[in-house]
Symmetry: C2
Subunit: 396 residues, 2 copies
């Protein structure tokens, strides 16, 4: 109960910014005395600060305004991409205080050296955050693969070539001794970033589609991720689009990834995926190339993107008929290709969604490719806001 | 809090049968004195009864065993089928105490006469239940169409030809004055029946597929229905199977219903749906005909059912990849055709689900075509068990 009320105060300050004790009491329906006790504990835990008395605009009785502590705990997010590694630190107010990204050829790379490199980047970002007075509270790692529910094990990440990799066990013990580590699918974290950080909030029920090399999706239902019985929900890339279509690495045929995955689009554009990967390495480089050529009017690229949009629309029509989301959000690298994919995608959705009276809102993420990394760091921040006392217990 | 504890006592008795006060106290973690007060209130509300002292097998201090009152409130369920109307009454212990079913040609029938007939059947079943001492607590109506979330309006029921029908407003006012009415999609209620009544409980996350004339599905996630933003989730029948396939009444092309719906299967079996509907009217009659011919070795019918199983498997593979359920349950009329559809269905699922290591459990419902009707009546019983005090308030 107390934990819940502490969390309520923090979430109120996160949502509405600096507020007086009286304003917090009014917002959460607790007495002034009750709020004062909660505030004392949160100050002691270093989770909030007082901005000093007489702040203009404060509602109710004059008093010092309270705010989340921008010099308290911070969340560290990391992303293992197929062609990059990124790490960032985010303070309780959501500001990115440190960030590193490096190009890396991770396809087929063994987990040990990859995670050793990632560990060094995390250590560097954590040191940077600490130098400004922040205390890293945890690390969440975004991976392009399936993570078994309730574990930190990557069951399968085909584009890395990983199977059964337990990430925390392979990170530097000096790091994991200091930082609790959690692992999640990049599409899930991208959807959480959309839910938490979108400048215009999306619906509380939406399908978030993202792409790096593969195509992933995440389902948000009533404001929470739908993870599935095993944690594997959201495998949009393997929804059959044309059941007699080309073989897919997953064992199926005619999966969406065979029509709208990066390699398929490069090939349909007359480009050789392997050559282009050598010529344009790094995160999003081939997507940027496609966007550039489409913008320049390259008919072959435009047709390839239109066909990818059609395939994505067919797969999403099935998903929308089954799930009835409030919106479909194109995020990740797909956001940059939206101008050429969206018309075909929307035509399929419009024609194939069972109730013609119902329009399915499609939106392009304003967060785009940063989603998984920001979602990872913010998920640590949310852990602190959700359970402030249990977060703080290791310190005492 | 008190409402919650009253409900907890009722659900404990529903799940475990007669128990002493001491056993109830131990199960729900409340003091003996606390349980006694709750029990007094539930006895007063006529929701439970004492079976008398000294019942053998009672745990703890000797004392009279408590049970749900089989002569208290009951739930009335009704089903509007395309070719039948059914009504039943279920007591708090789940026993069906009265039941009526009539064949009816409801395709294209206006809502007013249909609901007048349904109202007469409900009145008859309610009278029958009352004659045994039960008090009808509410009516839930199952419909083969989309019901807007939070309303009792059928937005669209293509096989009835209905659009925008607000059911309670069209029922006999003498009936609705006595009975609170709710309306839900038949597939949703079938899935709830599976969740509540299956002899072997299914997973808490499953996709329930059912069919009468159309094909519907319902999604159960963490033990609750996923209704979708507008209440329209579960439209499996309109998931694209072959995107360039035949036109569908929904406006799309190549929807699952075009391959595995009753009419499609009759046609593929060399039968004319309209003629057969005349020759074999009534609920499930054509499905029974198909099952009979398949059992007799009719090759054309067997091939038609196998192809329907393949199409269902393709659509479900997409849904399983997106939702990662613990099981897929074939319910409704489909349960009777499972022997001829399941092998092809399972072959598609096995080949197309992204993680080959993960087996998707497929099950055939033991409840079958009775699911929607039983789910409707039990959903009233659950309303009583969930909120005993607010249910009782109109009586006081």
């Amino acid at each position: 109960m107390r934990q819940r009320n502490l969390s309520l105060v923090l979430h109120t300050l996160a949502a509405e910014g600096p507020l007086s004790r009286a304003a917090v009491a009014a917002r959460i329906g607790v007495t002034r005395a009750g709020v004062s006790a909660l505030v004392e504990e949160l100050l002691r835990l270093d989770l909030i600060t007082e901005l000093g008395p007489g702040r203009p605009g404060t509602v109710g009785r004059p008093g010092s305004a309270l705010a989340l502590n921008e010099n308290g705990p911070c969340g560290i997010g990391a992303e293992v991409g197929v062609d990059h590694l990124s790490v960032c630190a985010v303070d309780l107010r959501g500001k990115v205080v440190a960030r590193i990204a490096v190009d890396a050829a991770n396809r087929g790379r063994a987990p040990e050296p990859l995670l050793a490199e990632l560990g060094r980047l995390v250590t560097a970002v954590a040191a940077e955050a600490e130098s400004t007075g922040l205390r890293p509270a945890g690390l969440t790692v975004a991976v392009p693969g399936l993570v078994a529910r309730g574990t930190d094990t990557v069951v399968r990440a085909p584009n890395l070539g990983w199977k059964g990799v337990e990430i925390p066990a392979l990170l530097d013990p000096a790091l994991t001794a200091r930082l609790p580590v959690t692992v999640d699918n990049e599409a899930n974290l991208g959807a959480l970033a959309e839910l938490w950080l979108a400048p215009t909030p999306v619906a509380s029920d939406f399908i978030h589609v993202s792409a790096e090399i593969g195509i992933g999706a995440a389902l948000v239902v009533d404001g929470a991720l739908l993870r599935g019985a095993h944690g594997f929900a959201g495998e949009l890339g393997h929804v059959p689009v044309r059941p007699e279509g080309p073989d897919c690495g997953c064992g199926g045929r005619g999966c969406l990834e065979q029509y709208a995955g990066e390699e398929a689009v490069l090939r349909a554009s007359g480009l050789a995926p392997e050559e282009e990967a050598g010529r344009h390495p790094g995160p999003g480089a081939r997507i940027a190339l496609l966007a550039e050529r489409a913008a320049a009017g390259d008919a072959r690229v435009r047709t390839a993107l239109e066909e990818a949009g059609t395939a994505l629309g067919i797969a999403l029509a099935g998903a929308v008929n089954m799930l009835d989301p409030g919106a479909v959000v194109l995020g990740g690298a797909l956001a940059g290709l939206a101008p050429w994919m969206l018309p075909a995608l929307e035509a399929e959705l419009g024609g194939r969604v069972a109730d013609p009276a119902r329009t399915v809102r499609t939106e392009v993420s304003a967060i785009g490719a940063d989603g998984p990394l920001l979602g990872a760091a913010h998920s640590v921040v949310h852990t602190v806001l959700d359970a402030p006392a249990s977060y703080a217990s290791p310190l005492e």
